[in-house]
Symmetry: none
Subunit: 136 residues, 4 copies
DNA sequence: GTGGTCTAGACCACC
DNA sequence: GTGGTCTAGACCACA
């Protein structure tokens, strides 16, 4: 019996119109796949060329995204073998996302307090957002 | 008896190291002063040259910040007269800050949900942040 | 029987908030008085000081406005005697305003044509405006 | 067969003598190209450096014009990629030009009425102008 | 190569 | 004095 082939990587469209740098959009999309469990440790990633073709971006943009992800310990690039999701990827990414979420929440509070937002308003706003994004 | 003059504007230090563009830091600092009521409608702002000297940035950088603030309706620049906080400044800035806070909260939720954060964790994190920044 | 005293000059408020330069606002306001017949040739104008006090602007701003009006032949300044509406003022101002109106209309047409406005749209817009400003 | 390339951008001469600020002249010229359909959504614009060279103005002046156009939603600037006419550009510019035309017409009427211009005179002047600028 | 930011300094119009 | 515009040139981030 051979290993089950992982489903092909399906990332959202990468576009300059979306705001941020292209390489950052790729980084975020891949982190999201890892955090939500669709990309498991050990899974091989597409080659630079394959992903560049799939996302319609330049090769060096993909290279930069992979560099960033390797720097953060999410993936491992092995010369000649290919690129793989690292073993600690899921935990690492999740704790990083967690920290990012807390940071955003911190920003929300400092900004809202400047505009005199009350505890109740914050609580209500949070409740609404959580409802809109139910836990998996 | 002498005329009451507004207390001298005291902005936090502006530094290239602090992340964003210098002019944006100035914009944010001034918006904060307005939102929190320390800078009231009608108050004269320092001249370009004065603020540039005080913050140790270029005159052009101050100009750019003032331009942005005038575009957003926070201040009014009058050639030959000076620059003043506009009448609707406080309300406008506060509602904009409110919207920005909600946006940040939205980001916190989408990011945290990717890392499987539960409703309880969000609520607890919010509670802590609100405690750290009590309402004025 | 003595000459009827002209009614005191009553100009709209002059304010930096209105957009243009202060001196220009004064020039326009006085031209309007002349064009509409409330200021007749020979009528004496307030002194620099009087008008500056009345409009709450600086003396040199009034000076600049009077200079401009004299340059255009609307008023005559006589050292020691005072300032008076010139004899040809009404006709001159009216023909100048006429020309300005035509110029604005020209601009309206070139601008609107760029946005593909039709003859009918222009005619209808003109009709509405004329209704809103009936002839005296 | 080679790819179709858009015809090179041909803007009228930009000159300090023409009245307004240089950057505003550039803004207006580009809006005109968009409004009249010669510049379609998605079309790439010349780079800052290229346009600065072509118009014989400073790079910064072009930058300022592009900034203004991006703020108004007419173009999109993408770091590293270039600058493009935005998707909603044509509609947006046309409705803005329309509004500007109505505003100019409003000014024409208020100014002309001060000089006692009659309905008939306005109508005749409009007729002449429309003849001089026939609809495309 | 592209656009994004910052600097130093000039000249002008307005008050 | 004020703000408004323009220039020449630098450095950085992105593709």
């Amino acid at each position: 019996m051979i290993d089950a082939v992982p489903p092909p990587l399906r990332l959202g469209p990468i576009s300059p119109a979306a705001g941020g740098p292209l390489y950052q959009q790729i980084v975020d999309a891949l982190k999201r796949e890892v955090a939500e469990g669709r990309l498991r440790p050990g899974t091989p990633l597409p080659s630079f060329r394959a992903l560049a073709g799939q996302l319609l971006v330049s090769l060096i943009t993909v290279k930069r995204a992979y560099d960033e992800l390797e720097r953060e310990g999410v993936i491992r690039c092995h010369q000649g073998l290919g690129t793989f999701v690292s073993e600690q990827a899921t935990l690492g990414v999740r704790s990083a996302q967690r920290e990012a979420a807390l940071e955003a929440l911190r920003l929300a509070v400092t900004t809202g307090r400047q505009a005199q937002m009350s505890d109740a308003e914050f609580a209500e706003a949070l409740r609404q957002e959580l409802e809109r994004h139910p836990q998996n």
